[in-house]
Symmetry: D2
Subunit: 356 residues, 4 copies
């Protein structure tokens, strides 16, 4: 579709429908509703109660239980989908085939095969397939990327991430599918690459067959190791990622309001060997800690604005369908590893990693 | 030796020598020096500088570089050894053969074979072989054991422990040997059992061949899983253990001065299935947090006093040679698992687990 | 007006207008908009920009710059006023005279005389005059009141409150008028009484004549002392109140998400004198800390609902005009004390304290 | 006395006696015992139990109940006094008259008159009179002084200090005498000046007539205001001082092990007026937070070493008798202000402030 030609409505606005008004959908709806240049026309959900609640908050919306109503409306440019993961593929496919740009919540789909199929379809249809990896739009993660690119931390030895809390248990997906995509998408973004192997140890304590605690180890090209702990069974809500570099170390604590990132001028310098001593010489460096000022904006606001920009102007998404596929591949493999009792499994970077 | 008959000196005191006056030895020396009924007669080290420092602090000590001086002194009842791990076996053996009670710092030895040999020798010589698992003498760990025994937490699903900081790098042992014995000894003590399998992923970043970061997974009989993260490469000093039980959850933070233990009345109750719904019913419980008052005493003080009690009165050690052996077996196996790239390895509980 | 007879609109809803759509007004509007049984008909502000932003969020509102439009609309039951303090009196008076129930943001007015006049007018008009002391509707403050009533803390010796941050500087009022009403309204509510004297030390560093740092000491009947520190010039945002009682102590930290209240079983017991020793005997009590579970609801939601209930059903407000007056009297006197360099000034409890 | 001529013992060491072996004395003793060039010859206390405990720890000491034994021993160069405040004057006077250098714990004496008398006597006897203001020897306070001197914080608007905990109640002095000298000595040191007025509000809850909670306001020359809160009745141990400067802000938290000082690049810039707007223009600055690396050494070690240096080499003490007097004057006046119900009282800087 030629840029801005047909599908924008008479008012020259980017028109969308939001599908799924449960937990996350209303946040997407609120942000698009406040976004200059965007217009939310539809809310869609299977629950009458959710629809009437949305109507109470936004009386100007059209409420529907049938996503088909949205797809066949020519005014609609894009569809924003925040439904259960198991439905992502079918709804996403229908929207793309209907000629809509698509923003799908993470994880993109429930299998790599489904994700690959959607990516291919979006290419064919020349539509934007966008995945809601919200964290990579946060100012804190952008700051980390900036510090990494500038070489401030040196080479990254390893990353250790903890993402735990009590509940909310999901019934259709395990804790790996639920929480790990956040960490994997952040790390893929920070390192500009995808892991080559994954090892996972997981247990299900509350719901048989649905893992609620898991420990993942990812190995990235170049040797960086990422350890990820996810759990629905922890007394505290922790979202903390530690990056250990050859020059400096960094802790990212997403639960902190004002001090999300701390940069530690700490490290170990390996000194050259001395013949006379013949032993390994180490020198510790304990320096200042810096808590950089971060300009907080709601990451979802940036994400929504960026999706509109990609749809209207052909800008390349920071979180494309391919990025969504890359994450799904890791999660899928992680679950396989867990089923095998923690065996290290290779990831075939294959097609998915190509086009970013 | 008949209890209290011969080897106590003329003043009726429990007489000891301290071997190794580097990092930890002086703490042992200070505690025995203040212990009523105990008398430190010797300090022993290979370094003139350390010996003269000890003499400056405690002018009444006999300083020697030869542990043989201590062994052949009939006044000496026990020897307290805080030397590098690689020397534990030889010194411990010599002391036991010389008829002394022995307190060896953790880890007991550098291999399970050595540990077994010492345990056997101590049995033959009818001497106390005691390992310095200091943490199990802390009021916080005792409180945890009390809560566990009383069933306050219910069944323990899993434990997650983090013991990280920057340095101090050791040259003769890796971070697993250095730090993990603390966690393993605490868990063996809390669960009154030993792990049946161990899986370890480790990396060495600073010194080739000496792992400085490791993630261990231990499986205990009955299904409890313990995840342990140890690292010499972390910007923060963290010593935190989370116990997740079917009734309550508990966090033990050893770096906190006043709030080492927090008990969370949190959990998930699995409700019975309802035919009509046919789906899994979960009920979350978010309740009060209690920070129990803990009466702080230096754990090492209790340890030293207990060692004297075991030596004089035949009391069974809370941290016997067998307990030291149990920990060494796990560490040895963990290192093997790491060398194999993270393979799960069984632990042959065998002899070591028997005698506690 | 007979209860529920005339002024409710045809849809049987409690109809309001919101005056002032700057910082706090939109929060009031959002809550009333979501409140079942309530209907926001008007938004009113002098700024075109604010009005059009409100219209964008809530297209169904009537926007006006003239509060008179609201007053003369017979459908309107109540007016919610969140304008600068200096305008509270005039707008509140006009609304009451127009027969509307009034919710005024805190502080109620800019002088005790104005507040007394409004209280009197509301009585004459038999309309609800309600002040937005939001904190007393928070679950944390309600929990504190519950603990105090149950005698859990014993007699309260003193309270120390810190409410500081960097900015936002106001131009028409000083930091005492801006921040202290929160603490005073909380304490009046907790102790069910009003202070009898106030002493204040204050300084203005940034804007000449507008104090930005102040320390207040209030003395309540019965001897309880309250120390309040307010500042626009502090690097950290702190909202912490410590209650020291004869039995227990309590810390209320409003910046904490999950642990707003901590109850310390700590105290000092004064033992009876012994003749033979003739000295004072004290016994310290260091016990557990309990963090009670608090069911979080947005306090403003409860406040809005309560205002509607008072207007419709004649329920007595927890934050009546008289309560607003009581706070204004303290603040007014505090500022006088500050001008006098920190002199202790008595508060004439007078009329204001009577009618609660 | 010519440097090093007479009173040092045959071994060329600085010889001292420690008087008072209760709470703080043993720390002084331990530090002098480890100080190269120093020799502790005596420990002195009225309690047999304390003396025998000291002998157990340091068998080489001479124990005595009579400070006269120390004074008449010509080998003794200095006397270190950590007895109850009420005895400071008499013991200090006797030692100075006996020709000894004197280190007196803070507060120097129980009245300004006594302190002035000791200062005068020390001048006459040409002996060092040194007060144990330990905090000014801490690396954190030195860092703060360095930052202030370098102008990093700009002009200091005000300081707010909190020093509270539960107990230890003293029987001979109130909480102002017990705790405030720490803050006053730190501030006098940081600002290189003494306050000109003091206002104090205090209450005694547990022991009649002995204040256990107090709020002090000190005004320094140049307009800096210091607010100090001291209490023996608080559930938490807090030692936190906030400095608010025109350029930056700083928080000093002495209970933090690793992050004692945080420097906030925060502030408010007052912009020049614009004619057209005629209103005050403010610009907030929210920048990075820096936690500077501080090299921790036990402050008491530096203090003891510095006392020896002053005694042997005539170095001017950082905490001289005059500094001790300056603090005592403020505390004395603060107590008078409290008795008067919080009246602001001037401090006659007088003689005490001269000689630093």
């Amino acid at each position: 579709m030629p840029k801005g030609e047909t599908s924008r409505d008479g008012q020259g606005q980017f028109t969308i429908g939001v599908v799924g008004c449960g937990y996350w959908g209303p946040n997407l709806l609120r942000n698009f509703n406040q976004l200059p240049g965007a217009r939310v026309k539809y809310c869609c959900d299977l629950s009458d109660e959710r629809l009437s609640h949305m109507k109470a908050l936004y009386p100007h919306l059209v409420a529907t239980k049938d996503v088909g109503d949205i797809i066949k409306d020519e005014e609609v440019d894009g569809v924003v989908i925040a439904t259960p993961v198991s439905t992502h593929y079918a709804i996403g496919r229908a929207c793309l085939e209907g000629g809509k740009h698509v923003l799908l919540e993470k994880p993109l789909t429930q299998s790599a095969a489904e994700a690959e199929s959607l990516v291919k379809l979006a290419d064919e249809k020349k539509k934007v397939l966008f995945v809601g990896h919200t964290f990579i739009y946060s100012a804190a993660v952008e700051k980390m990327k900036e510090l990494l690119k500038a070489g401030e931390l040196g080479d990254i030895y390893y990353v250790s991430s903890v993402r735990v809390n009590l509940g909310l248990f999901q019934e259709d997906i395990n804790v790996i599918w639920d929480l790990a995509p956040h960490d994997i998408s952040i790390m893929n973004f920070l390192f500009d690459s995808e892991p080559v192997t994954v090892t996972t140890f997981a247990r299900s304590y509350i719901q048989p067959g649905i893992e609620d605690v898991a420990f993942l180890i990812l190995q990235y090209p170049g040797g960086t190791v990422a350890h990820i702990q996810v759990s629905w069974l922890d007394p505290n809500k922790i979202r903390r990622t530690t990056l250990v570099g050859s020059k400096k170390m960094l802790v990212y604590d997403d639960t902190s309001t004002l001090e999300k990132i701390r940069v530690y001028d700490k490290g170990v310098d390996v000194l050259p060997h001395y013949d006379t001593f013949g032993e390994f010489q180490l020198s510790y460096r304990f320096g200042d800690i810096v808590v950089p000022k971060i300009n907080e904006v709601e990451p979802l606001k940036k994400e929504c604005s960026h999706f509109m920009d990609c749809a209207l102007n052909g800008t390349r998404p920071q979180s494309s369908g391919r990025d969504g596929l890359a994450v799904v591949k890791v999660v899928e493999r992680a679950c396989e590893s867990a089923k095998l009792g923690g065996a290290p499994l290779p990831l075939d970077a294959g097609e998915g990693s190509g086009g970013r």
